[in-house]
Amino acid sequence: MSDSEEQAAVERCLRGESRAFETIVDSYQRVLFNVALRMVNDRDDAQDVVQSAFVKAYEKLHTYDRRRKLFSWIYRITVNECLDHMARRRRQAPMDEDEPGPGPDHALEEREVETLIGAALLDLSADYRGVIILRHFVHLSHREMSRVLEIPEKTVKSRLHTARKLLGELLARRGVSRA
C-alpha cells in the first residue's frame, strides 16, 4: 500500500467508514503478527495482542500524526500491547524454567533454532528485542528502522550490535556454539 493509499484509508476511517480499516489490516496483519509472535513467543497470545493493537489503533486513529509513517505508529502500539501482555502474564504465572540447551555438538533442527531464539529473545529488553525483530524478521533496513523507531540510524546500528552480542551470549549459555 502506497503512502497516499494509506492516508486515504485513514481519512475514510476518520469519516466513519470502518470498512476502510480492512486495507490497513490487510497491509500490516502479517508483519505485526510476526512482530508480536517474536515478542511474546506464543501464537495465541500474539493473535490476541495484534487484535488488541489493531482495535486500539482504530479507536485512537484521530490522534495519529499524519506526518509519521502509519506503520511506525501501529508498530509502537503493537509493541506496547506486547509489553503490557507480558507484564500481565508475569504477574499471573511464574515463568517457566529455562529449558536446557541441546549441547554444543548437536546439529540444530529448524524447530529447535526457533525455540532457542524465541526463548533467548524473551530475555532481551524490549528495545533490543525490537531491533532484532525489525531487522531479521521484518527485514527492514537500518534507515527504515530509524524511521519506524524514530531514533538516529547510528543508534539503530549500535542497538543492533549490542542486541546481537547479548543474544549470542544467551545462546552460548544455552549451549549453542555453532548452528
Binding site: 466513519g16 470502518s18 480499516f21 480492512e22 489490516v25 490487510d26 496483519q29 502479517r30 503478527f33 510476526n34 509472535l37 501464537r43 495465541d44 497470545d45 493473535q47 490476541d48 495484534v50 487484535q51 489493531f54 482495535v55 482504530y58 479507536e59 499471573q92 504465572a93 540444530l108 529448524e110 533454532v113 526457533e114 532457542l116 531464539i117 532484532i132 531487522r135 531479521h136 524478521f137 537500518h142 546500528k157 549500535s158 543492533l160 550490535h161 546481537r164 552480542k165 543474544l167 549470542g168 545462546l171 552460548a172 549453542v176 556454539s177 555453532r178 548452528a179
Partner: protein
C-alpha cells in the same frame, strides 16, 4: 583495535552496510589472527540462526476477528454520536441558551425526583405500569451459580456483575485428584480485565483467547473479571474434567427472570 570495534566491523559487514574501507580493515584483521576468525564465526552464527527463522502466516481468523471488533466499535461510536448530536442540537447550537437549558432540565428532573419520593403521584392517582425491561442488576450482584461434579472433583462457578456492564466469574474447585477446569467466554464480547488467583496453589493456569484454563490438584480459586464490549450478553461456559469424567455447565450474565416484572 578494541574487541568492541571489531564486533561492530563484523556486524556492519554481515548487515551488508560495511564501506570498502571497513571491508579492507576486516579482511586484514581476519588474516592476522585466529581469535579474530573465531569471533567472526561466533557473530556469524547468531546471524545465521536469526536468518533461519522464517516469517509465519497469521492465523486465518485474525483478520475477521479484528474487523468484527472494529465494526462493533464503529457501531457503538455512531450510537454515542447520535445521542451527542441530539444533545448538541438542543444545547451546542444555541450556546447562549446552554446554561438556561441545563438549569431547566435540572429543575425538572429534581422536581420529578421529589414528587416520586414524596408519593405525590400515588396520592394524585397516577399509577404507572409496573417497571419492565432488561435493566442490568446492580453492580456487585451475584446473578448466577453453577455446581459441577466430575469423579473426584467439585467446582462452583459464580457470575457477579461489575461496573459498566462487565462481569466477574469466581471459580472454586476442590479435588482429590488432578483436574482441569475451564471458563469459556466469547472473546468478541468479553475482554479480560484482570485475573486473580485467590487461593495460591502449585497448579498451572493460563488465560488464553476466550478461555481460562486451570490445571491443579487440591483446591483452586480464581476470580476473572471481564469487560463487555457489546450489548449482547451470551452465557459463559464452565467445564470440569478429571481422569474419571467431566461435567459442564453455563453461567448466565442475567438471571433468568430478570427482564420480567420486578
Amino acid at each position: 583495535m578494541r574487541d568492541d570495534e571489531f564486533d561492530r566491523l563484523v556486524n556492519d559487514e554481515l548487515d551488508g552496510v560495511a564501506t570498502p574501507e571497513q571491508k579492507a580493515e576486516l579482511a586484514r584483521r581476519l588474516a592476522e589472527g585466529e581469535s579474530a576468525r573465531a569471533r567472526y564465526q561466533e557473530i556469524q552464527t547468531v546471524f545465521g540462526m536469526l536468518d533461519r527463522i522464517e516469517s509465519v502466516d497469521p492465523p486465518p481468523s485474525l483478520r475477521g476477528s479484528v474487523l468484527r471488533a472494529v465494526e462493533s466499535r464503529a457501531r457503538a461510536r455512531s450510537e454515542r454520536g447520535g445521542w451527542r448530536d441530539l444533545l448538541a442540537s438542543g444545547f451546542g447550537k444555541r450556546p447562549g441558551l446552554g446554561l438556561g437549558y441545563a438549569f431547566a432540565v435540572g429543575a425538572v428532573v429534581g422536581a420529578l425526583i421529589l414528587a416520586v419520593g414524596s408519593g405525590l403521584f400515588d396520592r394524585a392517582g397516577f399509577r404507572g405500569p409496573e417497571m419492565q425491561g432488561a435493566l442490568l442488576p446492580p453492580t456487585g450482584s451475584r446473578v448466577d451459580t453453577v455446581h459441577l461434579a466430575a469423579k473426584g472433583a467439585q467446582a462452583t462457578g459464580e457470575m457477579w456483575t461489575e461496573a459498566n456492564g462487565g462481569v466477574s466469574v469466581r471459580l472454586e474447585v476442590r479435588s482429590d485428584v488432578p483436574f482441569e477446569a475451564h471458563v469459556k467466554f466469547n472473546p468478541e464480547i468479553y475482554v479480560p480485565v484482570s485475573l486473580r488467583r485467590v487461593e495460591p496453589s502449585g497448579g498451572r493456569f493460563d488465560l488464553r483467547r476466550g478461555e481460562l484454563q486451570v490445571s491443579d490438584q487440591g483446591s483452586a480459586r480464581f476470580e476473572l473479571r471481564l469487560r463487555a464490549v457489546s450489548t449482547s450478553r451470551p452465557p459463559l461456559g464452565v467445564w470440569l474434567g478429571t481422569s474419571g469424567g467431566n461435567a459442564e455447565g453455563q453461567l448466565m450474565p442475567l438471571p433468568p427472570n430478570w427482564n420480567k416484572s420486578r
